[in-house]
Symmetry: C2
Amino acid sequence: MEENPQRRIIGNGKHLRLIDRGGWEHVERIGVSGIVALVAVTEDDELVLVEQYRPALDRRIIELPAGLVGDREGAEDEDMKDAARRELLEETGYEAAGLRYLTEGSISSGLSAEVLTFYLCPNVRKVGPGGGDDSEDIVTHVVAFAGIEDWLRSKEAEGIMIDTKVWAGLHFARATESQGEKA
Amino acid sequence: MEENPQRRIIGNGKHLRLIDRGGWEHVERIGVSGIVALVAVTEDDELVLVEQYRPALDRRIIELPAGLVGDREGAEDEDMKDAARRELLEETGYEAAGLRYLTEGSISSGLSAEVLTFYLCPNVRKVGPGGGDDSEDIVTHVVAFAGIEDWLRSKEAEGIMIDTKVWAGLHFARATESQGEKA
């Protein structure tokens, strides 16, 4: 396949743009410099998850805390790690003591230009209410790793979808543990 | 947030459609009934991965074998498991002896209506060349679980991106093993 084929805009929204690139269509975000996703672990070996209604899927979904970087007026050059801390605090009320870079990956490579940057946030502490910004209505779940698979399956049985990144987060949390780090 | 808000089409491609739903924009696939993603494991405890150039990200990406369901003329009602077997064989040349349902999850819930259905394919066997259909140029990697983390990191160091679903696949492969099943 030819690399770097020509871009043609099919449709422009306020936040998303539909592109054709040499016959391959995809969507990209407008005015965003990155996306962060957070594997946030408490001192008691619990994972911090968020649940919210997602219009694209018309249902409630359980996900890793995550958010857009550089999408706010006056903060277009926001640092990725600062955005990670801000999103975790806004969405869940938890504060990250430190952040460790995990990976940078595509999530829907056939359809979207999105790249997510994953950080491990060990030893997070509850310092605020969470719940998201004015446009969001987020429920926080703090779930012990012992039994988290069963907990996720019980949520699925209730009709709540588990976002694929949650399972990736379980891998990262366990991989970190097995390296002998307290995560 | 109001549920089931009104849909408005912002842009229509051949394969993708950009939608506004009560102020929330997202993309959906046209003429597709599902997407399958495959955690395919050999008898020698290796994971089968694919690598291909992705125009949306303008780079090569390592992913789980995956594909669209119901997108072919005359096969609109294709069964999910049949599609899973077909995609695995087309992309990698490996044949699935059996399939086990793992989960159904969103991958980019803020932007896309996509839902992926994950199957575990234990004991896959090489029976064909793989490489994908006429529009695809796919390289297959068969990587031992012992050392797979290092292998993925070495690919990242070469500038090849690892799709997030690969890490989720590692979780599923390990979770299955720890249940005492030969995966």
